[in-house]
Each structure stands twice: as C-alpha cells, then as structure tokens.
Amino acid sequence: MVKFYSSTDTYPYPFPAVTLAYFLRYPNPYSTHVISTDTIARDFDPDTQRLTTIRLHLKRSKLPSAVTKLLPRSLLGASATGDTQSYILEKSVVDVKEGWMDTESRNLEWTGVLSVIERQIFRRPVPDVPDDIKAFQGMEGAARRHGFLNFGGAGAGAKVGVDLNGETTDVESSVTLHSHVGETWRKKRAAASEGSSSSSEDEQTQKVGFLRSWGTATLQRNIEKIGLTRTLRSQPNAREGMKVVLERMREGGLVGVLEGMRKDREAILQGRDHIKKDGPPRAGEE
C-alpha cells in the first residue's frame, strides 16, 4: 500500500524570489533539526537555461515511540531514546524562462522500512493574455525583480517593487509514503537459501520471524500511517520556514537572509552546546 498527501498554496512573492528562498531555506527558525546542507552536484545548461542541483541534507530526528515499538531498535539504528540522524537527497530543476521549479526530496536510509518522497512544484502563474503581450510583461517583471534580488540588500524601492507588482507563485506539494518492510528480507532469505550464505543470516531469520508474527501488510500499513501523521505535522513548519526566509528577503534582500541564517545557525549551535553541557546560557548570550 502507499499513502499520499498533497496540498497547494500560493506565496505572495515573485517566482525568482521563491526559488532563491528554496535554496536558502535552511537554517530557519523552524528547521533547527537540520544539521547540514551540502550541494553535491550542480549543472547549468546554457542552451535551455535550466539549472539542476543535487543537495544532501542531514537531519536530526526522533523516531516516534510507535515505530520503536513496531520495529527492533537495532534495525532502525536509533539510540535508546529513539534519537537518530537521517540523510535526505534533494534534486531540483529551475527553468526561469518558463517559470517553474521542480523539486524532489527523498530519504536515503531505511527506505525499506519507509520511503518518503516529497515533491514540490513552484510555478509562475500564467496570465490570461496573448503571447506577445505576455513576453513583454515577462521582461517588465524581470526588470522589477531585478531590484528585489539586489545582492547588496534591498532598499525602499525594491520593497515597494514587491508590494506593488503583486506577483505570486503557486506551489503544489505532495508526499508519497511507501513501506517495503519485510519484502527485502524475504528476497535476501531466498537468496541465502539458494546457496550464497550470508554472515547475517541469523539476524535475517530473526527479523523474518518477528515479522511473521505481525503480518507484513499490517506492519507496512501501520508504518505508512505513522509516516503520514508526521508529514501532516511537519508540513506547516516547512511552509512557515519558507515564509520567514521570504520575509527576510523582502526586508533586507539577500544580505538580510544571510544575516538571519547566521543568527539561526548560532542559535542552533548554542542550543546544542546547552544540551551537551546541560548548563545555563553563558553571560552575553541571549
């Protein structure tokens, strides 16, 4: 079985700003669980003017107790309290001429237990006017956005530009949750019985025994349900995070966003220090 979530939203910001905010969305005050973000591949095609980016995020998460009850902790690689880290691979393609950005994020580990694929498609709304006028408006819009994305920080003019032009960006989000739990183990066991002996055969047998007591389909359904509950809870935070970044951009341009990120990163580091030392904040810290 597969579980599916979808929603649509409209950001009151021009498309180029939204794409930039997407790249700059971590860290933000709603993403303190994101430890790191790295670009691992980037390709610009001058002919199509499309930019493809692959990034790797490391996120801290706490497995819901419902999951640690369903599956052995040893299998999940989580600590006794359910703390774990997970790598997320994100791919995006931006076509600024056609006005769309297509993004997809997926978990890299435990995909057998639960694979979560999140897609977001951002689109510049197409005005209901003939093509030649559209092309002209496109250029005009680009000129206005010019000020909005001023690298040196947006002044009053850029702010007015955004408020006056009233450009918006549509976003379609979807999350697909799919548990394959039990399926690979069955395959591995079949392979093992064909002669290719595995050192972890005992472990496999143990897991299969555990699963048999549940029924694979029931287990998969339950894991997908838990995943969906989490998705429903995290989606509003993801949206709020984007809005914070976009507001910072409107207020202070790119410099404003970077300054906000710097503060968020400090807060995250300090938070982690506090947890580690288990002590009160030092003097001078907020």
Binding site: P16, T19, L20, F23, L24, Y26, P27, V34, I35, S36, T37, D38, T39, I40, R42, D43, F44, P46, Q49, L51, T52, I54, L56, L58, Y87, L89, K91, V93, V94, D95, V96, K97, E98, W100, D102, E104, R106, L108, E109, R119, I121, R123, V126, A142, R145, H146, L149, F151, L254, L258, M261, R262, R265
Partner: protein, 81 residues
C-alpha cells in the same frame, strides 16, 4: 549560510555558496547566464566533501538513489508549460 556535513569543508563551501548566490541572483534569474562561473570553486568544495562522503559510505547511498531514479527523473523533470 548553512553548515557543511564536514566541518573542514565549511570554509570552501562558504566561498562557493557566496559565489553561487551572487551568480544565481544577478545572472541566472535574469536570464543572463552563459556559463556557471562558480564551477572552479565548486570543484574545490566537491574535492573536500567527496572524501568525507566516501569515508562515511554516503557516496554509495547517493549513487544507488540516483541510479534508482534515473528513469523516474526522465519523466519527472520533463518540461512543464
């Protein structure tokens, strides 16, 4: 800027990210880009990071995920109107 997975790559990542953001907002978004001007900096960043990805076995996971989805991508990333 966001932190790198590998603290030793933070500096080179920051240099690349700064270059990218400038290029992205001043050239790419205005349809004025002809080449990826930050590619030399990306190569340095990639060199630093690839060692860490290999050491932690992440490179294999990434490769598998990308191979798995190559066909999906062909469908998924096709042009939209």
């Amino acid at each position: 800027m966001s932190a790198s997975l590998a603290p030793e790559c933070n500096q080179v990542k920051e240099r690349y990210d700064t270059c990218f953001l400038k290029w992205y907002s001043e050239k790419f978004l205005r349809g004025a880009a002809t080449t990826d001007e930050c590619d030399p900096l990306f190569k340095q960043y990639e060199q630093c990071l690839s060692k860490v990805l290999k050491d932690r076995g992440i490179d294999k996971m990434v490769k598998e995920a990308r191979d798995d989805n190559r066909e999906n991508d062909a469908e998924h990333m096709k042009p939209k109107r």
